[in-house]
């Protein structure tokens, strides 16, 4: 399963970085000129540690979605089918990583697709897409 991973040893967000990753994700993937709508949010960076909101494709949201709008694709990435989504936001409420996003202008929520667009623009090489085993389905 493809998963977006951040290396805090390299991420420079707390100091000089302009959060290119967020901007690129917002514009290229979600077609909005607003980094707050990106599927990753680099929240804080203190010396020696950082905090990022990233989807790790755990699949919890798939379990709670009442309309089967969420499914894993061939790469194991959790994808949303906008046609099926009923806008209940249980995916948002049940994501322990707060990684399911909502744009107030859209009725359907959005999330990371592990596309790697952000990886390419990070000037510090802090992001990567890795192939990790798919976790077992949890009862939530």
């Amino acid at each position: 399963m493809k998963q977006l991973v951040i290396d805090f040893q390299k991420c420079d967000a707390g100091r000089n970085c302009n959060h290119e990753c967020e901007m690129e994700c917002a514009i290229k993937v979600f077609k909005v000129d607003d980094p707050a709508q990106a599927a990753l949010q680099i929240k804080a960076y203190e010396d020696g540690g950082g905090k990022a909101v990233l989807c790790d494709q755990c699949g919890d949201c798939v379990v709670v979605c009442p309309s089967e709008a969420l499914k894993r694709n061939k790469l194991g990435v959790v994808m949303i089918d906008k046609q099926l989504c009923v806008g209940c936001y249980m995916c948002i409420g049940f994501c322990e990583k707060d990684a399911f996003m909502r744009n107030p202008d859209w009725i359907v929520p959005h999330k990371c697709t592990s596309c790697g667009v952000c990886v390419k623009v990070c000037p510090h090489g802090a992001l990567s897409i890795q192939d990790v085993p798919e976790p077992a389905v949890r009862i939530i």
Binding site: Q83, V86, Y89, G93, F94, E96, V137, I139
Partner: protein
């Protein structure tokens, strides 16, 4: 009591996609159908929660009309149960009875219903004159019918008249068609009928979730306790499931009108179909609540794992679980049907909300049950629940502790279209009558109605479905059985009246109120009869001990019936209100009201309709409808103090064994509460003292509650109260009251 921990490894390995299919009967059913009338209509979506029109259908004359929703209707009645009562009032006369053609069944979802972002927002409210009580009954039911009806274009559906042959009413909210179809032959029982109709009316596989069916079953027509199933399509199980409008016999009215089913096909659901004024507030409130469930449910009620059955063992531990017709409050075999068992038996890796967005997801299902009796013997079925009421009513109250039999009883109640709560209480009554010699094998036509005899219990139900034998007597309900047994001279009338657990003609639901004064009032001082949805106070009274004084209890009997009425005006489910609470709730003032959640409701209503309210206005909204319903009862010849009387079993110990099972508690009460000395007194003498003390106390409670509600001591709303609520704008309402004020 220790908090139950969920262990996924213990969940039984049952394939939830497997069950007996009935689709082979589809063509035969289709062949027996013919269109009687078809009219087009303009589908529309709601604006600020309202479509601003209702649909009237007369199944006898085939009249189909649309009616506008007036501003007065919205201001005074809000929607849901309020709209139901309003339409019913206009449809009937004081002399109308349940089986007169002018009686209506009104289904209305309420302005908030159909919201998908908050838990418990898909309810339909069903109102009719009850065959059991002769006054309006209201039922709050899940499933998709109400929201899909609204998204097709109607805030309510009025059904009036009587057909000669069975009919199906189909509303196609996509194509704009209303069709009345006659149906010859074909199944009647819900689990078969609804499966066929869902597949018949869905355009394709993807469309299945957009179809919902309302149906009853074979037993509804042969009894007074018929229930309505409201379906929803379970995508993961790939099956049609149900929630029930159970109480008061609306299913019997439905079948008496010869309605076989209602079918709605709505548009594809999305998150904004209500067109609320403030979607942002709704989104934020919903997400906050979903998080609360995620964080707190596992350590609080575990609704997502057990559904409402989580309280079986709590009730047992507090001596409040109804056992053997409410005689006792606990039983050593309860562990066989407690929540630890149900969370292993119910399918867990699935989604169990009865409408989109219900993160509380209490609509559990037990899959893979192979039936042992009846017309479907050998079939493999999915059983909804069992909810607490069913575990207690069909289980402990009748001494049935075999979970498979309990599930089978639950299944047949559902598919036959009868109320599980009513069935539990009336069977418990029959069994106690059998225990005490009021009934015997001869009088029951061979049924050995001993405690725990589930096979006899099921046979009694099958008889009722076939329209034969003692099952027909049982199906009249407790009130009419009491009258019948007394008339036959089968036992001491006082004993029969004391142990028959009904008030206003409706059977008690499954809480033992004997030791909880608040719940005694919560049952008897209700509008529709003793159903806990109006005032479920036993938990805050006996477990959480949040309303200790007499005044607290009287105040709770003012506030909670009004607060809980409000759910039914809007299409909310009441469970998400207090079956999970914010982590800091206990530190809040008036914790028993769950203030943060009350604010959520205020916000959701305002954000949907654009009508700004606060928590005080919420209660006033309810008070209008609640008092209107009280006056409606009076108009129909009930609704006075005498009709709020409670059977003594609900107030105190009727028999020696009951007294002795709690002798220590009762003796202490003689000392502390009555200031007397129990020493040297016989059990009979002590029981007499209790009877006096308990009935007096109940009567004083009535006085206080009536006064607090703005009613006379005879239970009649005063003119001043009506005026205060703006109900004086309805001259007919004032007239009814005037006749009773002297």
């Amino acid at each position: 009591m220790s908090q139950l921990v969920f262990d996924p490894s213990k969940v039984m390995d049952i394939d939830y996609t497997k069950r007996t299919e009935y689709l082979g009967q589809l063509e035969a059913l289709r062949a027996g159908m013919r269109t009687l009338k078809e009219v087009p209509f303009q589908p529309s979506l709601p604006d600020k929660g309202y479509t601003n029109r209702t649909l009237y259908v007369n199944v006898g004359s085939l009249e189909v009309t649309e009616k506008p929703v007036t501003q007065q209707m919205k201001d005074v009645f809000i929607g849901g149960r309020g709209f139901g009562l309003y339409h019913l009032w206009n449809a009937v006369k004081p002399t109308t009875r349940w089986n007169d053609p002018e009686n209506e069944i009104v289904i209305s979802p309420g302005p908030v219903a159909g919201m998908t972002q908050y838990a418990g927002t898909g309810k339909s409210l069903v109102v009719s004159l009850s065959p059991q009580t002769d006054i309006p009954i209201d039922s709050n039911v899940g499933g998709f019918y109400g929201p899909l009806l609204k998204f097709s274009g109607f805030d309510a559906l009025e059904l009036q008249g009587k057909a000669d042959k069975d009919v199906i009413l189909f509303v196609d909210g996509v194509k704009g068609i209303i069709r009345i179809e006659e149906v010859e032959g074909g199944p009647e029982d819900s689990h078969v009928l609804a499966e066929l109709l869902t597949h018949m009316y869905a355009e394709n596989e993807k469309d299945l979730p957009n179809v919902s069916v309302v149906s009853s079953g074979a037993a509804a027509a042969h009894s007074l306790i018929g229930m309505l199933n409201f379906s929803f399509y379970d995508r993961r199980r790939k099956c049609v499931r149900f929630k029930q409008a159970g109480r008061g016999g609306i299913g019997t009215v439905f079948r008496d009108k010869r309605i076989r089913a209602l079918v709605v096909r709505g548009p594809k659901v999305a998150g904004d179909l209500n067109h609320p004024v403030d979607p942002e507030t709704i989104a934020n409130t919903g997400i906050k609540y979903h998080k609360e469930i995620r964080e707190n449910d596992g350590g609080q009620c575990m609704m997502r794992r057990n559904g409402t059955a989580h309280i079986v063992e709590i009730m047992d531990a507090y001596d409040l679980l109804p056992v053997h017709n409410f005689q006792y409050g606990s039983h050593p075999d309860v562990h066989k049907i407690d929540s630890a068992y149900w969370q292993q038996r119910c399918t867990q890796a699935t989604v169990d909300g009865c409408w989109y967005g219900c993160s509380m997801a209490c609509a559990k299902g037990a899959d893979g049950l192979v039936l042992k009796t009846g017309p479907y013997r050998g079939d493999m079925v999915t059983v909804d629940g069992p909810e607490y009421e069913n575990a207690a009513g069909l289980g402990s109250n009748c001494g049935v502790f075999d979970p498979d039999y309990l599930l089978e009883l639950n299944f047949y109640c559902d598919t036959y279209g009868i109320c599980t709560i009513t069935w539990g209480t009336l069977t418990a009554f029959v069994m106690e009558c059998y225990q005490r010699g009021i009934l015997n094998k001869e009088r029951t036509g061979g049924l050995e109605m001993t405690w725990g005899n589930a096979e006899a219990d099921l046979e009694m139900m099958h008889q009722m479905a076939r329209g034969e034998g003692f099952g027909m007597i049982a199906g009249m309900g407790v009130k009419k059985m009491k009258e019948y047994f007394i008339k036959q001279g089968w036992g001491d009338p006082q004993l029969i009246n004391d142990i028959g657990m009904e008030n206003k003609g409706l059977e008690y639901s499954q809480y033992m109120s004997k030791e909880s004064l608040a719940q005694q009032g919560g049952y008897a001082l209700t509008n529709k009869g003793p159903q806990h949805d109006e005032a479920w106070l036993i938990f805050m009274d006996m477990v959480n001990k949040q309303i200790p004084t007499f005044e607290d209890k009287a105040e709770a009997l003012y506030y909670f019936p009004l607060f809980r009425t409000w759910f039914g005006l809007n299409g909310f489910c009441k469970l998400p209100w207090n079956d999970v609470v914010p982590a800091d709730n206990a530190q809040q003032p008036e914790a028993h009201k769950v203030p943060e959640h009350v604010q959520n409701y205020v916000d959701l209503f305002s954000a949907t309709t654009g009508v700004k309210i606060d928590k005080e206005e919420l209660i006033i909204q309810s008070a209008k409808v609640y008092n209107f319903q009280r006056v409606f009862n009076i108009r129909m010849g009930k609704g006075l103090r005498e009709h709020d009387a409670a059977p003594y079993r609900s107030l105190g110990p009727v028999t020696k064994e009951e007294y002795e099972s709690r002798a220590e508690r009762y003796d202490q009460q003689i000392i502390k509460e009555m200031g007397l000395d129990p020493a040297g007194k016989s059990t009979e003498e002590k029981m007499a003292l209790h009877r006096q003390w308990r009935t007096d106390r109940f009567s004083k409670l009535m006085d206080s509650v009536y006064a607090r509600r703005g009613w006379t001591s005879n239970g009649v709303p005063t003119l001043a109260r009506l005026k205060e609520l703006g109900l004086d704008a309805f001259p007919e309402v004032v007239d009814v009251v005037k006749q009773h004020l002297s």
